[in-house]
């Protein structure tokens, strides 16, 4: 086998061994349509040793609750791509999902709780 490294075609520094479209199995949009950039996820206590390193890297950040946007920022991955990776992890049972975002926030008590917190900032 020739000693060559294929850096993929996504132009990322350092390259990827596995192209992203393979990691997400060709998925182009999340199946869980409630996934939003602020949606909260957290790792479930399951064995991750068979997972690709990209997925394990994500799960290593999900010890507590974290948003899709934070994962994208910390792991330097575009938001759309992170959403797809999270979508796959949700489907495969590695992540749990927080409450889906409502179209508008119409919960008076929720707003009261937030107001109280802001006043103590």
């Amino acid at each position: 086998m020739p000693d060559e490294t294929w850096y993929g075609d996504d132009g990322e520094p350092g390259g990827r061994l596995v192209p992203l479209y393979m990691l997400v199995n060709g998925r182009t949009s999340p199946r869980n349509t409630s996934l939003n950039l602020a949606t909260q996820v957290t790792a479930l206590p399951v064995d991750t040793s068979a997972l690709e390193p990209e997925y394990r890297e994500i799960l290593s950040c999900c010890g507590g609750w974290i948003s899709v946007a934070e994962l994208a920022a910390y792991l330097n991955t575009q938001l759309t791509v992170m959403k797809l990776l999270v979508d796959v992890l949700l489907e495969r049972g590695f992540l749990a999902l927080g409450d889906p975002a409502e179209r508008t926030v119409a919960d008076y008590r929720l707003l009261e709780t937030i107001l109280d917190r802001l006043q103590r900032l």
Binding site: L37, A38, A69, L79, G98, D107, Y108, L111, L121
Partner: protein, 186 residues
């Protein structure tokens, strides 16, 4: 599992202090995430005869305030490339509302944001950023120039100052509450 996230959108024209405001109240240093948008190149990159789409990378800055164990609030500054930020309808989903930062030297830069939130019935407050020094206009003059609905709060703030940014946030949450019947729970 009932961890919930809510958002506040911080909008306004380029250079009005959005990231500064996010940073002054966030419990973490503002984070940046990038997104590639594909949008028709209308007029701006006019290449006559070529039906093309432009790919633009937009950066989104955001911060976080943990409310309690179940609720976390994210503050999202709209992207720097102002002509693309409205594509981010996703930002408005699950948002309490928006703070529209206003720079009195360039009032028109805030028009698109005001128009966007007004059309969608999303609560917002106009926050005049005093970052640039004394404001030579009265509240009435600014309201007139921005054609602000009388029910929309207008606040003065210094986006660099935590207490001042906090007041703008409080004013937004109170405004959002005033539009709901008291005591309702979703």
């Amino acid at each position: 599992m009932n961890r919930k996230s809510v958002k506040v959108v911080v909008a306004g024209g380029f250079g009005t202090g959005k990231t500064t405001l996010v940073g002054s109240v966030s419990e973490i240093a503002p984070l940046t995430t990038e997104e590639v948008l594909t949008a028709p190149s209308e007029g701006i990159d006019d290449l006559t005869g070529i039906e093309d789409k432009t790919k633009t990378t937009v950066a989104l800055d955001f911060g976080r305030i943990t409310v309690n164990a179940d609720i976390v609030l994210y503050l999202f500054g709209t992207p720097g490339q102002d002509r693309f930020w409205f594509i981010w309808d996703e930002l408005a989903v699950g948002a309490i509302g928006a703070i529209v930062l206003v720079d009195t030297r360039r009032l028109d830069a805030s028009f698109p944001a005001i128009d966007y939130f007004e059309r969608r019935g999303i609560p917002f407050v106009a926050a005049v950023n005093m970052f640039f020094g004394e404001c030579p206009y009265t509240e009435g003059e600014i309201r007139d120039a921005l054609k602000l609905n009388p029910t929309v709060p207008l606040v003065w703030c210094d986006a660099r100052d935590r207490q001042s940014s906090k007041q703008a946030l409080i004013s937004l949450v109170k405004h959002a509450m005033s539009r709901l019947p008291a005591g309702t729970s979703a």
